[in-house]
């Protein structure tokens, strides 16, 4: 009896976790924010999200075709990037082409050229948002207040810079001007719950990030709740700072990363010229991740403390 047997190194069974399942869970976690954004900004939000997601997927497909590499769109990471980028755009008509340009930057320049999923140094959606903010600053700050008769206005953080106060309840529910997806804290927290239940992310980064912002606010005498609920903080802390590839792998590293994010965000918000600092904070901390990983090596069980590698 002759059999052709598979021979490989152990282990011979696998957990069900797959990259595409993880990405799919992130997409599910973003659904509440997506629904609220469409409810608040109606078809405009839907168009922006659709165009951005589609162009992200398209750019990744094209890149793989042109460079004759294995097709990777099946891992859904381009969908996640596109969706996150769309939620980071203002709800104006100009965002439709901003989404296309942003996808090009995020997928081709930030992700694929660096070697694709898992190899990029910067979070693609954040890097693209920062690029758009710098290159198209007026279009990226065309804020509209939610509702049928959308009128041009300023974001709560920009208003706060000029001394105008927005109620925390409005901030929580999303009844405020801002990017498509960052306005409703409630929707984002629902997504956070889903990611935690599905064990996609751990509490470490998000909690230390938010706690640092709260403590910083206390120290300077600002309203901590206002700072947590406004701007892109929750969207950034829950969905962008926790991106696997561009955040540290060790628990200690994650905590250092979270604290760094909080300090830079508040530093920019309070002392900088820009009203919002989440994107720049994440981009900056992304650069430090390899160094954080090297300096926070865990001590092996029964081993001696490691020197920094």
């Amino acid at each position: 009896m002759e059999h052709n047997l598979y021979v490989n190194s152990s282990p011979h069974i696998k957990d069900v976790a797959k990259t595409s399942n993880i990405m799919f869970d992130v997409i599910i976690a973003l659904i509440p924010a997506t629904i609220i954004s469409i409810y608040l900004y109606s078809y405009m939000a839907a168009i922006i999200i659709g165009v951005t997601v589609l162009s992200s997927v398209l750019f990744e497909t094209l890149y793989n075709l042109l460079t004759k590499q294995k097709q990777t769109v099946g891992d859904f990471s381009a969908v996640v990037t596109g969706l996150l980028l769309a939620l980071n755009l203002p709800p104006a008509a100009s965002s439709i082409w901003l989404g296309v340009v942003g996808s090009l930057v995020a997928i081709i320049i930030v992700k694929m050229i660096f070697g694709g999923l898992g190899q990029n140094i910067f979070n693609p959606a954040i890097a693209a948002r920062v690029f758009l903010t710098v290159a198209f600053s007026s279009q990226m700050t065309t804020w509209l207040s939610p509702g049928a008769d959308a009128i041009s206005t300023a974001t709560p953080l920009a208003l706060a810079n000029n001394g105008v106060v927005t109620s925390n309840l409005d901030l929580f529910l999303g009844n405020i001007p801002g990017c498509i997806g960052e306005t409703s804290a409630l929707a984002l927290l629902l997504g956070f719950g889903w990611l935690l239940i599905r064990r996609i992310i751990t509490l470490d980064i998000t909690v230390t990030y938010l706690l640092t912002v709260v403590i910083f606010s206390f120290i300077i005498g600002a309203d901590p709740l206002f700072h947590v609920l406004s701007g892109g903080l929750l969207l950034g802390a829950i969905f962008m700072a926790t991106d696997y590839t561009t955040s540290p792998m060790t628990r200690k590293g994650k905590i250092i990363y979270g604290v760094g994010l909080g300090v830079i965000t508040m530093g920019i918000r309070v002392y900088g010229n820009l009203p919002e600092g989440v994107s720049f904070a994440i981009l900056f901390m992304n650069i430090l991740v390899p160094m954080i990983n090297r300096t926070t090596l865990p001590k092996s069980f029964g081993g001696v403390k490691k020197k920094n590698a």
Binding site: M1, H3, N4, L5, Y6, V7, N8, S9, S10, P11, H12, I13, K14, D15, A17, K18, T19, N21, I22, T72, D75, S77, G115, G116, L117, G118, Q119, Y244, T245, M249, T250, L297, P298, K299, S300, F301, G302, G303, V304, K306, K307, A309
Partner: protein, 436 residues
């Protein structure tokens, strides 16, 4: 008694204990057995017999003068047909003795209960019994039981955790052979002057806990500790930590923290050997897997061919595509069905096509699941990169040699990286560099 400590990391594996209620059946003597000269960690034995020799039950057929080695015996009587050579999965060619059995089962005159008057006699007897660690690793027991002069063994820990999926042979041993388990423990305690024994069993085996607790009640020195069912609870370093809170330093042995760990089947064998003098020639194994018709526990002679053991157990229901010696997490996949069963085998698993094919690797997304799963607190994802680039210094600095190859990292990896394989390569790179 409550678990002392909980180790970090580890994974939840499916249990698949299909055979937990399958009582052990004894397989009749096959026409041919092939007994390799290596069933243990250490030096292989040299054959003591030559083709044409008539051999009797219990006769020593292979031995070595090296300290870390254990002699090999035959459990069948018959005629030596040939000295063969078998390619082991680790790439070594090992001599083996092909025996044509006569089924008369005449006992060799040397088989009588050993006379033991001292610890030295005891260690010598254990060596002559051919016992190796039956939990799977096969470390020669006489080496394990021989602590350096002057050191006092604080604990004897008995490993009945059996955290690998499918396997129930230790569980059946604990239930079917429970008196021998306890009496083996008593013998070791007496000769090695140990006063504390803890038996660790995962809490998914309440019946084994109950049966052993019932018997051990007579001794106030033996405790039974149910352990959380978490893989790799049965790994030596994890077990020691769970039962005593002691941490074995990197590169050291349990003896260095005054602990001896033995498998339930090993201690039960010691009891029967002291009584009868019959060396280790039989083994209880679990036969299971998706290609197997009737998952079962059988007792076979060491040297029985895998395919004959499976045929006795009921044969295949699907075409087998992977044959494993041991469990699915750490078992060794075999080249063919003609490999003989070894002393330290506790299971033969036959997987069907669907179970056999490992998914293709995709890019690491640096999710850190492997880091969280590692019970040794290492960073498997980085080893993967370092071994591919041959970064030996980094492999050493990140402590690749501490890896116990439990497979938890590969098990949880969403990108299906072959992490354990990379780590094994990495260890070889480090060893090659060191020996230069």
């Amino acid at each position: 008694m409550k678990q002392y400590k909980y180790f970090k990391g580890g994974v939840k594996v499916p249990h698949y204990k299909n055979t937990e209620n399958a009582e052990t059946t004894v397989m009749p003597i096959p026409d041919l057995v092939e007994i390799p000269m290596l069933h243990h960690i250490g030096a292989p034995c040299e054959p003591l017999v030559k083709p044409g020799d008539e051999i009797l039950v219990g006769q020593k057929i292979g031995d070595s003068d090296k300290y870390i080695s254990a002699p090999v015996h035959t459990g069948v009587s018959g005629k030596v047909k040939k000295i063969n050579s078998i390619l082991f999965p680790n790439g070594m060619n090992i001599k083996s003795i092909l025996i044509e059995t006569d089924k008369k089962q005449v006992l060799h005159p040397s088989i009588k209960p050993p006379v033991i008057n001292s610890k030295k006699d005891f260690i010598k007897a254990i060596r002559e019994s051919g016992l190796v660690g039956l939990g799977g690793a096969g470390f020669p027991t006489h080496v394990k039981l021989n602590p350096p002069e002057g050191s006092k063994i604080e604990y004897l820990l008995i490993n009945g955790a059996e955290c690998e999926p499918y396997i129930t042979s230790d569980y059946r041993e604990s239930i079917e052979n429970s008196w021998n388990v306890i009496s083996g423990i008593n013998i070791i305690m007496e000769y090695l002057d140990i006063d504390k024994v803890i038996i660790g069993i995962e809490d998914n085996k309440p019946k084994a806990v109950e049966v052993l607790t019932g018997i051990a009640k007579t001794s106030d020195k033996i405790d039974i500790m149910p352990l959380k069912s978490k893989y790799p609870q049965g790994a030596e370093k994890m077990l020691i930590y769970s039962l005593t809170g002691k941490v074995v330093p990197a590169g050291k042995l349990p003896l260095d923290v005054n602990v001896i760990v033995m498998n339930v089947a090993s201690v039960a064998f010691i009891a029967s050997y002291i009584k009868t003098g019959m060396p280790l020639t039989k083994k209880r194994i679990t036969i299971d897997g998706g290609a197997i018709k009737t998952p079962s526990n059988i007792e076979v002679f060491v040297g029985t061919y895998i395919k004959e053991a499976i045929t006795f157990a009921g044969g295949f229901k699907e075409v087998p595509k992977k044959i494993l010696m041991g469990g699915p997490m750490m078992g060794v996949s075999q080249f063919n069905l003609d490999s003989p069963i070894l002393k330290q085998n506790n299971a033969i698993l036959a997987f069907n096509e669907k179970q056999s094919k490992m998914p293709e690797q995709t890019a690491c997304i640096k999710c850190g699941r492997c880091v969280r799963a590692c019970p040794m607190n290492l960073m498997p994802a980085l080893f993967d990169v370092f071994s591919q680039y041959g970064a030996v210094k980094k492999l050493v600095r990140f402590d690749v040699l501490s890896c116990i190859e439990c497979g938890s990292c590969s098990f949880v990896c969403p990108a299906n990286r072959y992490l354990v394989q990379s780590i094994r390569n990495g260890k070889l790179l480090v060893k090659a560099k060191e020996s230069k």
